[in-house]
Structure formats: structure tokens, C-alpha cells
Amino acid sequence: MSADVFHHIAPFVGFTYPNETEVPWSELIVIYPYITGLVAGAFVVSSLHHVFGMERFAPISRFALLASLCFMFFAPTPLLFHLGQPTRALNAVITPHWTSAMAAFGYVAGFYVCLLLLEVWFSFRADIVAMSKSRTGIMQKVYKALTLGSDDVSKSALAVDHKIARRLAMIGIPGACGLHGYVGFLFGSLKTREWWSSDLMPIIFLLSAVGSGVGLLIVLYVVTSWWRKKPTDNGVMEGLLYVLWTGIVVVVVIEALEMVQMIYKAREGVEGVFELIAGPIHLGMIIQWGGSFLALAITSIMMLAGTRGRALVFWLFISGLLMMVGVLAMRWNVVIGGQELSKTMRGLLTYHPEVIGRESLMVVATLFTAPFVTLYLAQKLLPTVWEHDAKAHH
């Protein structure tokens, strides 16, 4: 193994501690909370239908659930690529050291994967049973196996499925909030870094997660509809507009409050924070705030003008994409930015990601592509996810 594989020696100005010149958490730790956030956001949309019975989300609620599961599968993978000793990853699960916020990760993530798997299974069980009877050859065996031997599709059995799926979704809401609030806690609880050490961090992570997850669903729904040459559902698009608008408003306000609070308190070293914003992360800040404000402006105009039809689809797609990019930039600004401001508060580092290697942009791109590929395969396996297509013309 080359000694350079993990090296991220960052140039610095001012005074930093010598060991800080190697940034410990790379772009892989940027993508980890990002993917986790997409899971939480997609799950919230699915729950709006499953738990609160908002019928307008019926056409995409099962798709949102499936998307949530596919992204959750890959949420822990960036961490594995980042560990110095990946083969020991399970040490944290076998012998968790409970004073560590990170020790709970395996349990939290494992719990959430199980919950999503169960909810997907109960939501699609009737369809799986039907396909185990209609398909032939090897796929019949696959579907047969997926029924787990439960092929009762009587009315009462389906009612039980529905009831259990709803209850799982109800558990999933605090679960999703907990999962993502927890990721925020991992950063916010570190007193050593001024840029992270904020009580608002879990809330900011959670809310931005919802924003980016709704953005992802909008993008996915528009692209898959276009791909399948099916029209998008007007009710769904309107509903997603409302959810996205609410998400952006709350995220922007809370993030602005956090910044103002940090600047107003002006604790020792606040000049370092100003220099960080004007220096290493200035481009990230422009993308984060520019993306958020642009998405806020577009969605606000559409809310006021009552935009419908093709214009709504196009501009909502743009807003969703802006929100995804803005939140990705926010994750970078938090994770990398926090490490670019020295613990001495008197120096700045500039992190340059590697393009190829174990911890590199290429790995990030691959890990971020994987959930989309998995989702493509999942909707091939469970084509009934699109059963509402026929009703889209109402």
C-alpha cells in the first residue's frame, strides 16, 4: 500500500497545530450525511401518504419508500471507505463504547434499514404474491422466495398488511428524525470546532435533509416520468411544491439564525470564522445560499402565481435540483469547512480533494451513483410501484 493513499496534506495560513495539516475527514464524510439526508427526506414524503393519508401523494408514496431504502443501503458505505481499518468496522457494533456518539451508528443505521425493508415488504407483499403466480421461470422462484411463504391475499390479510405498514411508517418518522438529528449531533457535540459546536446542528441537519430529500424525489419523479414517457401527476407536483417551499423556508431561516447567533455572540476567534467564510469555503457558501435563495424565489413565485402544468414541472424540477446542490454544498461547508478552520482559531487550511484513490471524488461519484442504479433495479423488480400511472390523467 502506498504511503500516499490517504494523504491529504492541506496548505495553511496563520497558525495551525502541525497534526491538523492533514484533514481527518474527507469528501467521503461529506457524502455520508448527504445520502442519509436524502433517505430521511424521501421517507417523509412517503409518510405523508402512508401515515397522514394525504391522497395526493399516493402516486409516489411507494416510490419514495423504495428510493429511501435504496439510498439507505449505501448510507454507511462512505464510512467504510474512510476507515483506516475497514475490516474492523464491526468492532464498534460488537463492543460499542457507549460514551461515543459514533458507537450507536451501527445500531441506528441497522434499525433503519430493517424498518425500511419491513415497510417495503408489507407495502408490496400483495404484488409480490401476484407476480409469484403470474411470472414463469427463475423470476417466479425469486418472487416465491420474496413472499416468505405468506401468500394470503384475502381482504382481511391485506388490511393487516396495510395496518402494519402504517404503524411501521409511524415508527419511521421519529426514526428518520432521530437518524438525521443524530448525524447532526455527531458534529454539533464536538466542542473543539467552533464551526460545528452548535446546539442547532442536529436541527439544521434534519431540516436540510428533508429539503434535499424532497428535492431528490422531485428530480427522480420528473426524470422517471420523462424516461417512461408518462405524464407527471398534477396533484403530486403541487403537493411537492408545498413541501419543498416549506422545507426551504424553514432551512434558510434556521441556518441564517445559526450564523447570526455565532457572529453576534462574537466569541474569541470569531474573526477566524469570517476568514473561513471569505476564504476556503466562499465558493461553497455562494452555492449553498445562492441555490437555496434561488429555489426559494422560484417556488415562492410559483406559489403566488399558482403555476400549473408544464411550467410547474420544469421550474419545480429546477428548484428541486437547486435544493439538492445547495444542501450538498452545505454539507461540504460544514464538514470540510469545520476542519479548514484550525482548532487554534488563528489559522486556515485549504482542503484539496483527490480525484482518484481510495478517498477521492471518483469514489464519491461511484458511491452516489450506486443508489440510483439500485433504485432502477428495484423498480424493475417491483413494477407495481408505478401502478398509479394510469390514473395520472385526472
Partner: protein
């Protein structure tokens, strides 16, 4: 200095002038041996993996593997009977950086300027400035020319400036009473010993670097060859045998003081008693066990 060293000193004080001169000669010979060892290190093996001269680590891989397989037994050592602590008298430090090099050699630390268990910071006030300029070994200008990041020396950048005040501050792990690194370790691979030092079980560390993030003092780093965290342990393998940490041993000015706080006559107990000492970043609540005398408001 340990208690044993104090006893040796007392014995030495009784020696005749002739014996004393003889001892001085031996001391000179020892100093020569150390210099020779340094030269040998510099010339051994040609270019290393990090582009420097000499081996990347003093310890070969085979030696490391053997030490891991058969860890040395420590007879007659009871870790509940000691409470180690460290003192730094910054008034004495001359910034020679022998401590940094001794540590890297003793503990097989990566030789480059970006990974270190102990380092020395230079604080310099220029005329008319309220704030100090600070630099340390990670500044490329402080790498000894030609050594390719294996040896260090503070450069003479202020020779034409008007300096009003300047001093050196050695840093190392504070072996805190409430260590953040131990709190955040997800596996318990790093732990606080009853006698004070915070150690790492490098067979169990997963290399997540949460501890590196959590340390307020920047004392931790990742050892890339081993994929695990790395930190100063006050040379635990030495202190448990009654020896001083390597950095204390080589310090030519007595800046670094070490000893057992359970012994009121130990060098550290005396140092804490006879000086107005301070700790770094007390507001972090970590309760460090490295005590500083003579530090300035600018020291971070």
C-alpha cells in the same frame, strides 16, 4: 526526571571533584554517541518512502510485528500505585527540537512534518504588534535543509525584524483527566489508564479519526502505515520501567519535567509546588495533566 534520577543526583552530589570530572567525560562520550546515532539514522538506507533520508520508521516492520506478538512484560509495576504528570518550564526552552526528533525515533512516528506526537511552537512579538506570530515544525521553512522533512530546526526569519518578545512552547498530549478522545472513541480502543496516560490499543482501533477531531490540542493524528490513530503516551514503555520519556531524557535545558505526583519529592510535584502553573485551554473542561510555567496569553 523520575524519583530514581533524583536519588542518582543526590549520590552524584557526594562525589569528589575528580570523580565528577570523570563523569563529565562519560557524559561527553554519551552525547557523542547520541550525535553518532543521529548521523547513522540520517545515512541509513538512503531515500525512504516519504522522500526523506533514512528509514521512515526507526523500527522495522518485523520488529513491530514481533513487539505486537510478544509485548514486553513489565515486572513489579502496579499502575494503581502511580500518578504520572508532566511539566513544561517554557522559560527554559531554547527551541532545539531534540525532543521532537527523540520522540519520532523512540516511538516510530512518521518522520514527516505533518505527523508528530510532540512539537515546539515559537511565539514572536514584533515591535508594535499585540499579537504573536506563531510557527512550528509543519512550516516548511523549519525543516532542516536537505533533510527532506525528517529533521527540523527553527529558521532565522526574524533576524532583520525588531523582536520585542519571543519564546518557545513545547506541546504534547495532555493525558487529560477527562479526555475527549476517550469519550468519542466508538470501540473503546483508546482508554485512560489508572496511572494517567491515555493509551491506544492499535489492534482494536478502526481508524475513524473521531478522536483526532475531538482532541482540543491537536495532539492526535492518523498513522497511515497502520491505519490507526497515533498519539503521545509519555513513552509508557519507558516510564513503567522507571525511565523518563524520551523527550524529557534528551531535553538539554530541563524544560520538560516528568514524575509521579504520588511522591511529593518527585520533580513534577516540586515543579507544581514551586511554580505558578497553568494548563492549556482550561475552558474545554478536559483537565490536562501537562502543567506549564511561564506561558503567555497568546499560547493556544
Amino acid at each position: 526526571m523520575t524519583t530514581q534520577d533524583t536519588k542518582v543526583e543526590k549520590e552524584a552530589a557526594k562525589l569528589s571533584r575528580r570523580d565528577f570530572l570523570g563523569l563529565l567525560g562519560k557524559g561527553a562520550a554519551c552525547a557523542g554517541a547520541v550525535a553518532g546515532a543521529g548521523a547513522a539514522l540520517a545515512s541509513a538506507g538512503g531515500a525512504n518512502k516519504l522522500g526523506g533520508v533514512g528509514p521512515t520508521y526507526q523500527q522495522e516492520d518485523a520488529q513491530y510485528a514481533e513487539a505486537r506478538k510478544n509485548p514486553p512484560k513489565i515486572p513489579n509495576y502496579n499502575w494503581t500505585e502511580h500518578k504520572w504528570a508532566f511539566g513544561v518550564d517554557t522559560n527554559r526552552c531554547i527551541g532545539c527540537l531534540r525532543c521532537v526528533e527523540a520522540c519520532k525515533m523512540e516511538n516510530s512516528v512518521q518522520m514527516d512534518r505533518n505527523h508528530t506526537r510532540t512539537w515546539v511552537e515559537r511565539y514572536t512579538y514584533l515591535e508594535g504588534s499585540d499579537h504573536a506570530h506563531v510557527d512550528s515544525i509543519h512550516d516548511i521553512k523549519n525543516v532542516m535543509p536537505g533533510s527532506k522533512e525528517t529533521r527540523f530546526v527553527f529558521d532565522n526569519r526574524y533576524k532583520d525584524a525588531k523582536v520585542t518578545k519571543s519564546f518557545f512552547v513545547p506541546k504534547l498530549c495532555n493525558q487529560c483527566e477527562k479526555p475527549s478522545c476517550v469519550q468519542v472513541c466508538p470501540t473503546g480502543a483508546t482508554y485512560k489508564t489508572p496511572d494517567g496516560p491515555v493509551l491506544i490499543d492499535s489492534k482494536y482501533c478502526i481508524g475513524c479519526q473521531y478522536c483526532v477531531q475531538a482532541c482540543p490540542y491537536g495532539a492526535r493524528s492518523l498513522n497511515h502505515e497502520r491505519g490507526t490513530a497515533e498519539k503521545c503516551n509519555w513513552c509508557y514503555h519507558r516510564i513503567t520501567k522507571g525511565l523518563n520519556p524520551a523527550c524529557v531524557e534528551v531535553c538539554p535545558t530541563g524544560t520538560r519535567i516528568f514524575g509521579d505526583r504520588t511522591d511529593p519529592e518527585s520533580p513534577i510535584s516540586q515543579f507544581i509546588r514551586n511554580n505558578r502553573v497553568n494548563v492549556l485551554k482550561p475552558d474545554m473542561g478536559n483537565m490536562p495533566n501537562v502543567f506549564y510555567a511561564g506561558i503567555d496569553k497568546e499560547v493556544l
